[in-house]
Amino acid sequence: MIAETGLAALWLAAALALLQAFAGLGSWKSASPALASLTRPVAVAQGLLCLIAFGCLLWMFAVTDLSVLLVASNSHVDKPMIFKIAGAWGNHEGSMLLWVTILTLAGAAIALFERRLDAQTLGATLFAQSLLALGFFAFLLFSSNPFERLSPAPPSGAGLNPLLQDIGLALHPPTLYIGYVGLSVAFSFAVAALLTGKVGPAFARAMRPWVLLAWISLTLGITAGSYWAYYELGWGGWWFWDPVENASLMPWLAATALLHSVAVLANRDALRAWTIMLALVAFAMSMAGTFLVRSGILTSVHAFAVDPERGAFILTLLLLYVGSALTLFALRIGSVKEGKQFSILSREGGIVVNNIFLSVILAIVLMGTMAPLVAESMGDKISVGPPYFNKATVPIGLLLMLALMVGPLLRWRSDDKARLKRLFAPAIAAVVAVIFLALTSPQAGFWPIVALMLSAGLGVASFLPLFGRNLLRTPLPIWGMVIAHFGLAVSVAGMAAESGWTTEKLYALRPGETVSVASWSVKLEDVAPVVGDNWVAIEGRLSAKRGGFVAQLKPQTRQFSNPEQQTSEAALLTRWDGQLYAVVAPISETDLSRWQVRLWWKPFVTLIWFGGGLIALGGLIALLGRIKLPARKQNENPWVPA
């Protein structure tokens, strides 16, 4: 019954999306208050129905209802409860239902709370939003029904990819989806602005919280995903330039650029066409990302949900939505009046520089990701890896940091060079850092030292916008900006320290032997088999010693039973100044006297994710400042009674 309830709710929601499309279209074309007032309850009911459908899915997974095909093929009675529930979206159908649920909830939120936009633009936004939803409803109902029954029901279920049986799974896809959906809202706003021709500060302020929300979620998703790959894949790396990682990085780059250009539009009514373009690109990138994950056209460690037929469906939606939006852009942007002018030495100028650098990085990542496909279409086979991406993106990323020290200091519209005197303090910090590093450890190499120098400079410079302000009266968005920019400095410092100062050692050890890595001495005490819920493992027991400090590390190589797969569980020892990272694996099936032990000392590596967290926190603080604003204002939404 639960499955049928879920399916019925999904069909009803789809019908309401169709109704919303007509009502939204009508209220844009005719500005009819009757149609506009219809849109709100329809959008809210649609979101609630999707929530019910998703609740049914969660319930089915929680009780492991094996008469449902999706549960039988993705879950198992032996699985721990938390992974049973997370399994609901750890598969194609479930994750698409989650996506549609978040999408329709966002639609409901716009209908309920948006008070800054005129009725016509709001109608056009909800029209665009319902067209997006309809495509994904069709996808779910016609090709990926999560509620399909299986008869007869199997006794135990097929299981879940063991790499995904991790708490990371419970959070990673949902955060990315909130990000993607937030960008879809920005996309709908942009399409609506193109339809009505009303691009200006009101439009930018309506769009901004959604861009912020998307950007926060993408930042968290990428940060968490990077940490997951770091400890789960057991390779000691934290970013692999894998196609699917790039697929999540590209919308983030576009969203970061958009977040900044939308501020210019909101404050100064400039960069109109450019902001619209970025909103379209950001959503296009997020859909392309979904396509890359689902279609499996690029080889990737993430390709666990590959199905060409579904890829075709997503590609159709991508071509339809983004293709028509870009056509609309080309046809209509001429009718959008040019925004205000500004001098290059101004806050706007700084943001334009930021946007240019971010766009160049985006283009580099896009080209590197697409290059294997281009080569394949010309009968060649290549793979593009970290050497290309690092060489091409690192220098531009560092230039971006340099610009970031200057930009937030400048006033809107135009400024004089005298303000740049404030950069004295960060310049001192950078010079001290570079002299210290060049003297103590020149072996780290040019780029890590330059990156740490810029991190030191930016770390100080990011606080300069607070200089001369009353800290208690400083608006939350300024605090958010300061914390996010400081977070970037922290994260880049971690990246530089990890890439320049990591020590890696590989040993074949017998139990009882002691080796050293950096300032640590590590002893392999013992190797023993251990048993978990649905896996068996060999576990190395290592004792790591530095000075008077001793700690135990227990890395494992796990053998999962349902389905059969081997994974490596690295052991991490976190200290204030870095992490000791250990992996143990058998040398061969027959030789059980010695074990392969891989050890890394990664100084300050945790700053990478700590910085990522700070960036997201900055966004959150800015978002709180932004959504507080409309509550104080007069209610201007014509659909909500005052």
Binding site: W274, L280, I297, L315, G323, L326, I333, S359, L366, T590
Partner: protein, 180 residues
Amino acid sequence: MGPGMKRNWLIWIPLAAFAFIGGLFLYGLMQPKDDYVRSGLIGKPLPSFELPAAVEGIPGLSSADFADGKPRMLNVFASWCLPCKAEAPFLEQIKERGVEIHAIAIRDKPEDVAAFLAEHGNPFVRIGADADMLVQLKLGSSGVPETYLIDGKGNIIHQHIGDIRGEHVAPLVEKLKAAK
């Protein structure tokens, strides 16, 4: 691009770039896809190699043992590999149909290979020991078991990835007999 991007053909560039990427996606989607790493050497001559004997009593293998006008099969296996045990009876059937099979044992020890052959039978004429997997890499093989069909001129004409099962026996033998 920038603030002043209206009024001319430049505004169509994003759409054109998107169409190009969409076209690539479409192309990528239409390519046949599988999880296997195909050897880049299919249709090309066997790379040259020389391997010592993997087990006492059976000669080692070099690329010179091919290309004498007789098509042969080259099996890449290991005593520690389960699917290799599963495919052993079918290799025996292929041998009974008159096909000469050479083999390369990957990361193996002589006593293990001997035990494997004693338990599962020996369909092989020669077995080379590839202790450090260098020849396997040269062949473009990414796992065990894999089987290559080599024509009489020493060219690789087919790569079979994974274990050979009952239904593969006849097609593989026919394919090899058709080659000269």
